[in-house]
């Protein structure tokens, strides 16, 4: 065995606090090391060439690079050694930068530590085995979860790329939050006017199969070969017959149903089509309000429906779809303002949320765009906007900024003035966050052209006084408490993860952060990938973001899907578990603990029962290896012997 070791200076990053020449010198004494040298920038092209040349010149068969973190350059160097004809797994990195030169102050100790790291890496590389990927066929259909603007964008881009798309939307219509907005910042263009055509495209695209009012029930399989169970929730209306004429909604006698599309700003009918531009434009019965369900008799809609589409006996239906890639665009939720006791916690009718206000502003909303106070339906003259309602408030568990509230508050303030020129708006803010193109100018316009009064401080208390709501906040620039007697208070309540986000993540085997937003593979370089290959992210499911960013991410996720599906076969990572059938005693404890159900029981000829790894499902965690009492199942590249070699190198000397 001839190991070559390359010790990188990383300019002064390593050489500054580690005596790299001495490390090389000591490394040469390690048995098995045939060649060791230190070099300025090993990852540079000449640096890599040096490795390739040395492999040929000295007939090296294993390579160690002592440099930065393997999370940084492991792949780079694997490719290098591969180009020089070695198996890419005959390579190890010793991290002497992040874990050594950057954190230790004493040159002598650092140098010693670097030598130790090299010794462990050499011990490991000498135990390394060549590994080879195997390939498997890819199903070229795509599942998109969530029919908001991000999901629709991803679905359309994938479909335009020639792949069949299964789009699953939880609510009865696609459109998401954007469909509820009146106007969008900073252009003040009508939200549904720009979104509507996209929704129609989704409905009419030959390659898009839309499941509205449906949810993902179960996800099985692995990248390239997923089996998805989808629950089509009972609508009690046969959508193959419903024409969306709206007759039923008009005649329905149950008028107090909660309107989730309008966030309860006004009631709706028990049978309803959520909004005029809905896609699909189909009616659905809400059984908690429908008299047929609550009282057992009514049947008005069934009687008048011209196509006889009503079916009170309908039940949920489970369908299965097979896909190769998944885009998760499941959107966001909003903080329940009951958590804000000092703002009345939802007890005062004239303290509303911004999305409710959006519905009041909207011409197709329940008030036809007329702004009225919920308590007495009078037009408010003084409107106070409270930003950071829950956001950046770790005391209620939302430590982050909700990203786009500053902008929509400015928009709503502008629209308020447009609707009611004699009104006065106030905005309580902590910081105005407006870093997008044309955004800061927009918030300035709200103040300069529309006379919105911005007050720098948080609101501490909102309480009623006669017909008014008193908003007591601080003006920290004035250095005192201020009070405003408002007719209407609009809370910019925090953006939260969508309800049920953790459960969906568990089904998909993707990680979510403490706030239940989904975690991308790398915050900068892999922003739409997840740690589960084949599953991609778009929109607010990954974190609060505005419309352009969501659309951008939808397209980015689609691009990732398209590039993945451009191949007919995918290669698996060979660093997965492997069973030594001779050693396996068939106790099958590994089957019990595998988090991915990647291990199954196999009966050999002669009746011996052993464990068997499904290569494509195994994710390479190694739980099985530490479960197996006899070491018969080994995670490749992290086998017991490989890790023991490192332990022994560090301990037994």
């Amino acid at each position: 065995m001839k190991v070559g070791v390359f010790i990188c200076h990383c300019g002064n990053n390593i050489a500054g606090t580690v005596d790299v020449a001495r490390v090389a010198e000591e490394t040469r004494k390690i048995p098995g090391v045939a060649y060791a040298i230190n070099y300025m920038y090993t990852c540079s092209e000449p640096g890599q060439d040096q490795i390739k040349d040395a492999i040929k010149k000295y007939d090296l068969d294993r390579i160690v690079v002592a440099a930065c973190s393997p999370r940084m350059h492991e792949l780079t160097f694997r490719r290098t050694v591969e180009k020089a004809g070695l198996n890419r797994y005959y390579f190890e990195m010793a991290n002497i930068r992040e874990h050594c030169s950057w954190i230790g102050e004493d040159r002598e100790l650092n140098t010693n530590k670097a030598m130790e790291a090299v010794r462990a890496a050499v011990a490991k590389v000498m135990q390394d085995k060549p590994l080879y990927s195997s390939s498997f066929a890819v199903n070229k259909r795509v599942l998109v979860i969530g029919g908001g603007v991000a999901g629709m964008q991803a679905a359309l881009d994938c479909a335009d790329g020639g792949h069949e798309v299964v789009l699953v939307e939880k609510s009865p219509s696609v459109g998401g939050m954007m469909a509820r907005l009146d106007k969008t910042f900073p252009t003040i263009d009508c939200s549904i006017c720009i979104l509507g055509p996209k929704m129609v495209d989704v409905a009419q695209h030959d390659l898009i199969k839309l499941y509205a009012y449906s949810e993902v029930e179960e996800v099985k399989g692995y990248v390239g070969n997923y089996q998805i169970k989808i629950r089509k929730k009972a609508t009690y209306v046969d959508w193959t017959k419903c024409t969306g004429c709206g007759e039923c909604m008009e005649k329905c006698p149950s008028k107090d149903a909660y309107d989730s599309f309008n966030f309860g700003v006004a009631p709706t009918k028990a049978i309803n089509i959520p909004f005029p531009q809905a896609i699909p434009k189909k009616a659905k019965i809400d059984p908690t309000y429908c008299r047929q369900f609550t009282k057992g008799k009514c049947g008005v809609c069934a009687k008048i429906c011209p196509t006889k589409a009503i079916n009170y006996e309908m039940e949920d239906e489970i369908v299965t779809e097979e896909v190769g890639a998944i885009v998760v665009a499941s959107g966001y939720g909003l903080l329940d303002i009951e958590k804000m006791g000092e703002y009345g916690g939802g007890r005062y009718p004239d303290v509303i949320t911004a999305i409710q206000y959006e519905r009041l502003l909207n011409a197709s909303g329940p008030t036809s765009g007329h702004i009225v106070r919920p308590s007495d339906h009078e037009e408010p003259k003084t409107v106070v906007f409270v930003s950071c309602c829950g956001s950046r408030d770790k005391s209620i568990g939302v430590p982050y900024c909700s990203n786009f509230c500053c902008m929509y508050i400015a928009k709503q303030a502008i629209l308020t003035k447009d609707h009611m020129p004699d009104s006065q708006s106030y905005v309580f803010y902590m910081d105005i966050r407006s870093p997008g193109k044309g955004y800061d100018e927009f918030t300035r316009r709200a103040q300069e052209e529309y006379g919105t009064k911005y007050i720098r401080g948080r609101v501490s208390r909102i309480f009623p006084k006669g017909k008014k709501m008193v908003v007591r906040g601080a003006d920290t620039l004035l250095g005192t408490t201020v009070e405003i007697e408002a007719d209407l208070v609009v809370l910019a309540n925090a953006v939260t993860a969508a309800p049920g986000a953790p459960q969906l993540a568990e089904k998909l085997h993707i990680s979510y952060d403490t706030n239940a937003f989904y975690v991308e593979s790398h915050p900068k370089l892999r922003p739409v990938e997840t740690n589960t290959s084949g599953v991609f992210l778009a929109g607010c499911a990954q974190g609060p973001k505005d419309i352009p960013a969501s659309v951008g991410q939808g397209s980015a996720a689609a691009a990732k899907v398209l590039s993945m599906l451009s191949k007919d076969f995918l290669e698996n990572d060979p660093a997965i578990a492997q069973v030594n059938q001779n050693a396996c005693v068939g106790c099958l404890k590994c089957v019990k603990t595998c988090p991915f159900q990647a291990i199954v029981e196999e009966e050999l000829r002669g009746g011996k029962v052993v464990a068997k790894v499904i290569q494509t499902v195994c994710a390479g965690c190694g739980v099985c290896t530490s479960t197996c009492p006899c070491g018969a199942i080994q995670l490749q590249h992290f086998t017991d012997n490989q890790l023991l070699a490192e332990v022994n190198a560090l301990c037994l000397s």
Binding site: E338, G341, G345
Partner: protein, 311 residues
């Protein structure tokens, strides 16, 4: 149902200005069949002046009393006065949280505090350990004229980490107790805005303004009587009403009763027994009792915490 075997720490105010609070609580407890166990030879909790001057001294003065309860072998202690409650509970909380602080405090004491005593306000004790159902049982009479605005003051349930009782922004315990004995309650926004009582002696200017705000909000909401659970609040809102009127040009004349006095009235005790005559503002016909008129039982209001749990 939680344990009812708690000590009762009246505190200095209830021996003086708040004697009517003490008397009414003892009567209410008697009607509810709960024995009042006063720790022998209790001392002052230290109140605001102690913690304003030094946390360690404050901790030790309070902890001496917790040690007395510890010696009685009881699970906990209830204190009617929020100031005492806060002093005792804060001492307990900080000693539980920091061993260093606990050791320092115990160095000052003859007998160390082991950290085992559950401290509650007497309001919390009645509300949680006895419960609204039991509280409704001894009711004999109605108070048809009374419309009560419960005033909680600042520290009965604040800060929530320490007080661990009711909702810190919209408390409902006193509302529910008074409703439970059949008396009408009005909701208003200043249930817990500070009335400034702590500075009643040295800074009357501040107190007048703050008290004025609280009283006007309650009256605006339609109340003709204020219920309190604090001897300092009672003194401040009642005794100083004339001072407030003089300073602020108002003409308030609203009686301020302890919640326990209101409960006592419905249990059939006389105003004199309950010390209602010790108040400055005459309650007049508000305390006239009448026969109970059965009405639909209102559901108790939910606290935020309970609502959250339910969802």
């Amino acid at each position: 149902m939680a344990d009812k075997d708690y000590a009762y720490y009246p505190g200095c105010s209830l021996e003086g200005t708040g004697s009517a609070y003490d008397a009414s609580i003892r009567l209410v407890m008697q009607a509810l069949g709960v024995e009042v166990k006063e720790p022998h030879d209790w001392s002052c909790c230290g109140s605001t002046p102690a913690h304003a001057v030094d946390h360690l001294l404050a901790g030790a003065l309070a902890a001496r009393n917790l040690v007395l309860v510890q010696k009685m072998g009881l699970k906990g202690v209830s204190a009617p006065c929020p100031s005492c409650f806060s002093a005792l509970k804060t001492a307990h909380y900080r000693m539980a949280k920091s061993k260093a602080f606990k050791d320092e405090v115990n160095e000052l004491l003859d007998v160390p505090y082991e950290g085992t005593v559950d401290v509650r306000s007497t309001l919390q004790f009645i509300y949680e350990n006895i419960g609204v159902e039991e509280v409704a049982r001894p009711v004999k009479l109605a108070l048809p004229n009374m419309k009560v605005a419960p005033y909680y003051g600042c520290i009965l349930n604040r800060p929530p980490e320490i007080a661990q009782f009711d909702d810190p922004e919209n408390p409902v315990s006193m509302d529910n107790l008074i409703s439970a004995v059949g008396v009408e309650v009005v909701d208003y926004a200043f249930k817990m805005e500070c009335c400034g009582a702590a500075f009643g002696v040295p800074r009357k200017d501040m107190v007048n303004k703050l008290t004025h705000k609280v009283l006007s909000m309650a009256i605006e909401a339609g109340a003709n009587c204020i219920a309190v659970a604090c001897p300092l609040c009672q003194q401040n809102l009642d005794l100083r009403q004339a001072q407030v009127n003089a300073a602020m040009g108002s003409s308030f004349n609203i009686p301020v009763l302890y919640f326990s006095q209101i409960m006592g009235l419905t249990y059939g005790f006389t105003p004199k027994e309950l010390g209602i005559d010790k108040g400055v503002v005459d309650p007049g016909n508000l305390i006239e009792t009448g026969p109970i008129v059965p009405k639909e039982v209102e559901k108790p209001k939910k606290t935020k915490a309970a609502a959250k749990e339910a969802s």
